[in-house]
Symmetry: C2
Subunit: 184 residues, 2 copies
DNA sequence: CCTGTATGTAAGCGGTTACTTACACAACAT
DNA sequence: ATGTTGTGTAAGTAACCGCTTACATACAGG
């Protein structure tokens, strides 16, 4: 691991534990095992380091790379749901950082939020339109219900309550949700 | 409005715009039109002021005071959904503060999060059990799906994307969600 | 008129923060 | 051997933060 990667990783952990203003550059440097001077030589400023952390650990590529499995039926929907949820969990620290910056609302952050929402909805639209033979006018609503429920469940359980529900509990939620939306 | 209320209100606005660490006591005092000394005389410390803001502007009492209307059927579910959503919107700044503090996770905040989740789920459990004659084992899952979808939709639209969807859009979402869960 | 209560102004204190400068050292490539 | 590159240490800067002290002022009640 290069020095730059060490610092990025330490910053990722610190920002997710204390937020941007709550984290000091001393802290990051010490946590990375490098000197503070090195940090500034590599990244120029705290803000720039923060930007690079967001780029490096974003959940967006993970969601974008989710492939829609062949087949039709509720199982496909459930599988996508599980994949999305496990992506969110894998990048939980990134999402914590995102949530911790909802105050402030710089255009830069606003763009990250929109990008995230759009990526998630694009994936789901893809799934639903390849899956259902229904009046298409319903698809956007199904997308919103499915995406919102998944996202809301994740935030409520994993972030607000700080627990990681066992797999069968997550699966039960996703199965129920899929059944409601897909029917059957 | 008493001086204390002026300070509380200013602090509420500042914290929701910049988060706890991003807000300075000078800023709050100036925004309230009082001197910084007065702020410290009234609240003792920044942390104590923050606590009082959370108590004073919490959305929890709003949710707790939502009454379950008489009648049965999907309309009741929709009505509850609309009431919850409008409570969330009315206390959007409070929820922003909550989200901005997910990093850190002091026991104090943890308790607020749990309390919020529990209050919401208690209300919904009340609604579902008075509404449906279904196998009760399904109720907790319905509660989670309904609550998560509502909450996720709110965060995604109002907080992440910073928009206030027009009433008919919110209603359409809630109507669809209720139909999926209640059937019919 | 006096006294208590609430607020303001001015000044500052000790600590912290992001960031910089100057210099030394080690590894490595030419 | 020499120069380049990457890192460390030491020291410090200017600004800012939460919070305090000391003192003045305004006003209401008895």
């Amino acid at each position: 691991m290069t020095t730059k990667e060490k610092v990025l990783n330490a910053a990722y952990r610190c920002f997710s534990k204390k937020g941007y203003f709550g984290t000091t550059t001393r802290e990051i440097a010490h946590s990375a095992g490098v000197s503070e001077v090195t940090l500034f030589r590599l990244f120029g400023s705290k803000k720039e380091l923060f930007r690079e952390v967001l780029l490096n650990y974003s959940v967006i590529p993970d969601i974008r790379s989710i492939s829609v499995p062949e087949g039709s039926g509720r199982e496909v929907l459930e599988e996508i749901g599980r994949k999305i949820y496990s992506s969110l969990r894998e990048k939980k620290e990134f999402l914590k950082i995102l949530l911790s910056e909802v105050t402030g609302l710089t255009e830069e952050m606003q763009e990250v939020y929109s990008h995230f929402t759009q990526t998630l909805e694009a994936l789901l639209e893809n799934v639903f339109s390849s899956l259902l033979s229904l009046p298409e006018v319903e698809i956007p609503l199904k997308v919103k219900v499915f995406g919102s429920a998944l996202f809301g469940f994740f935030i409520s359980e994993e972030i607000f309550q700080g627990r990681e529900p066992p797999q069968h509990e997550v699966n039960a939620f996703i199965e129920t949700l899929s059944r409601f939306i897909y029917g059957g």
